[in-house]
Point group: C2
Chain length 332, copies 2
DNA sequence: CAAAGATCGTGAATCGTTTCAAGCTACGCT
DNA sequence: AGCGTAGCTTGAAACGATTCACGATCTTTG
């Protein structure tokens, strides 16, 4: 049982390979009877088109690559779903990779995608530099940057996290509580840093000194880290009256641990999260949080990639900035 | 700027295409000086190997497909990471698809993967029938079934969910509480059904009648559904004294809602979940749950696929069954 | 010093598609 | 009858890599 090629189908159906190809790609050019004969042969032989050969011949592909940071965070999986939906709508297939936050793995992903000759890449960069982006663009790839600001020569879409951080902080401050803690993940990640920056700015505007805003930097954006952060917070005397967590997983872990310790939320400590994941709404104390349009973000990124890929002539890189919004529940 | 091919590299370096190919694939056959010259040319031209052409010529690929049901559930993303780790270790690349629980989309995924000429597929089947599996095997693909039992002619690996369900129920019953509720997702999914079956069996063995085990079937395995289930449970009079949820997301949503309603967990109602996701440990009431070796499950599946792909002669399909274990925390 | 290796490079054939100019029929029209 | 046209079909030339039998040099050895 050697692999079945278009040639075998042609023999079986008593036509030329060109005709089989036409049945596959422009069926209207082929007479009804022939078409059916060919289709029958395809079925009987169990023929499956060889995409490598097709792509090699055509030079282009209908495939876009997506490089995500991490599958463990529901934030990214929602992005992914949004992006995939948009791509499929436009007739593109998606190739997924995850960098797991490692620049090395990110490079491997990009190499892989380039070797597969995807026509474009949507990426949340980790260690990616402008040089590599430029190289890829030279090779004819469209590159869309997801959720990062500073890449001049490429389309990008992101959420205004500075505004998001401000919202969170302003909400926390609007009842004149003054002892604020900010629990955040690694500040090397731009979106996280922006949330932090926005929150600090809002704090300063409200007259808080840096000392009045305790900052806890955790190594990861997980509930476990949130739990640990809560323990640290509980050692503070006096306790903070408001906490901003730069993502919901942190916030959920933190709130749960506070409750376990008998601290009332929002009674004694108010908490605001960021992301609005499903868990925010189903927490013991439903979480007040900053919602990001995740699905839309992924969708937009994909649309930008498709637009650039399909642009025949020149193409102006677009930067789309989406706005977050405050969702007020019970935790603050 | 036409695409750069191996031929351009050859010209630039003043060698033949065969030599460039050798530098790429068997560098030790090429003299040091030549090798460096070719590498330099590759760098200067920004050459990227065309995987389509390579694969077409070679006939085989070093790529395995993975079809997952759903990215929203951390259970699947852990599987994915386990599988990817194993594949990369063995020098294979992974191609990811999600069926989103739809048989149609699953078929599209498989078609896509077959057209890409992956050498094997790891899949959590949704609507997949044995016929399609046989077809794929005829075409030379290795197929590994993840977390389902009844596919004779293929390797498979799964967790013994019947045992898992039994464990959960036995733990719930060991203090002679007798009013039990089982909250489950769609019973069409085999792993879910097995957990349910196991739990019911254990209940019956302990002398409970079917009526004494209230069953709530929810449409989805999400915290939101768990919350809704809690509301239903609270309408019962008398309240159940123990609840088994067939996954942790359900359990987390349910426990949170119970606590909100002022019901003590485990004081008034004890709850056992299933999966042991990270959230189980960081809940307000840390969740007693049945742990599945998710990472190992994904890893094993990948290993089975690699083994079958690499088997030169005949190959005996293996079925690996992993055991779940009870993790006792506070909720029961 | 000639023969036999050893070491490197070459170049044509090949993989399975798509594409396209050209060929073949049958039909309608004058 | 002759011609044009529309409708189908054909067959060969790509696409970019890998592979392999075969040369071309250079070294070693009896």
């Amino acid at each position: 049982m050697p692999p079945i090629s278009i040639r075998d189908v042609a023999n079986r159906a008593g036509v030329s390979v060109g005709t089989v190809s036409n049945v596959l790609n422009r069926p209207n050019l082929v007479a009804e009877a022939t078409r059916e004969r060919v289709r029958a042969a395809i079925g009987e032989l169990g023929f499956v088109r060889n995409e490598s050969a097709r792509q090699l011949r055509q030079g282009r592909s209908r495939t876009l690559g997506v490089v995500l940071e991490n599958l463990a965070n529901p934030y990214f999986t929602d992005l992914a779903r949004g992006a995939e939906a948009a791509m499929n709508t436009d007739g593109f297939d998606a190739l997924w990779c995850t960098s797991d936050g490692s620049a090395t793995k990110e490079r491997r992903c990009l190499d892989f995608l380039e070797e597969q000759r995807v026509t474009g890449v949507v990426i949340t960069p980790v260690g990616l530099n402008s040089e590599r982006i430029a190289e890829m663009q030279d090779r004819g790839l469209s590159v869309v940057i997801l959720d990062r600001r500073e890449y001049a020569g490429a389309c990008s879409t992101r959420v205004d996290h500075i505004a998001g951080g401000e919202m969170a902080m302003e909400h926390l401050l609007d009842r004149h509580r003054l002892r604020i803690a900010i629990v955040t993940g690694p500040l090397l990640q731009e979106p996280i840093k922006d949330r932090y920056t926005g929150a600090m700015a809002a704090g300063r505007r409200a007259g808080l000194s840096e000392q009045e805003m305790t900052t806890l930097v955790r190594s990861d954006l997980t509930p476990t880290e949130g739990k640990e952060a809560a323990r640290r917070l509980l050692e503070l005397d006096p306790l903070p009256t408001g906490v901003f967590c730069t993502n919901d997983l942190l916030a959920v872990g933190l709130v749960n641990e506070l409750l376990r310790a008998g601290v009332k939320v929002p009674g004694e400590i108010r908490v605001v999260g960021y992301d609005d994941i499903e868990l925010a709404d189903t927490s013991v104390v439903p979480l007040t949080t900053v919602r990001q349009p995740r699905h839309e973000l992924g969708w937009t990124a994909a649309e930008l990639a498709v637009a650039e890929v399909s642009a025949s002539g020149e193409h102006d890189h677009r930067r789309v900035v989406l706005s977050p919004s405050l969702v007020i529940r019970e935790s603050a």
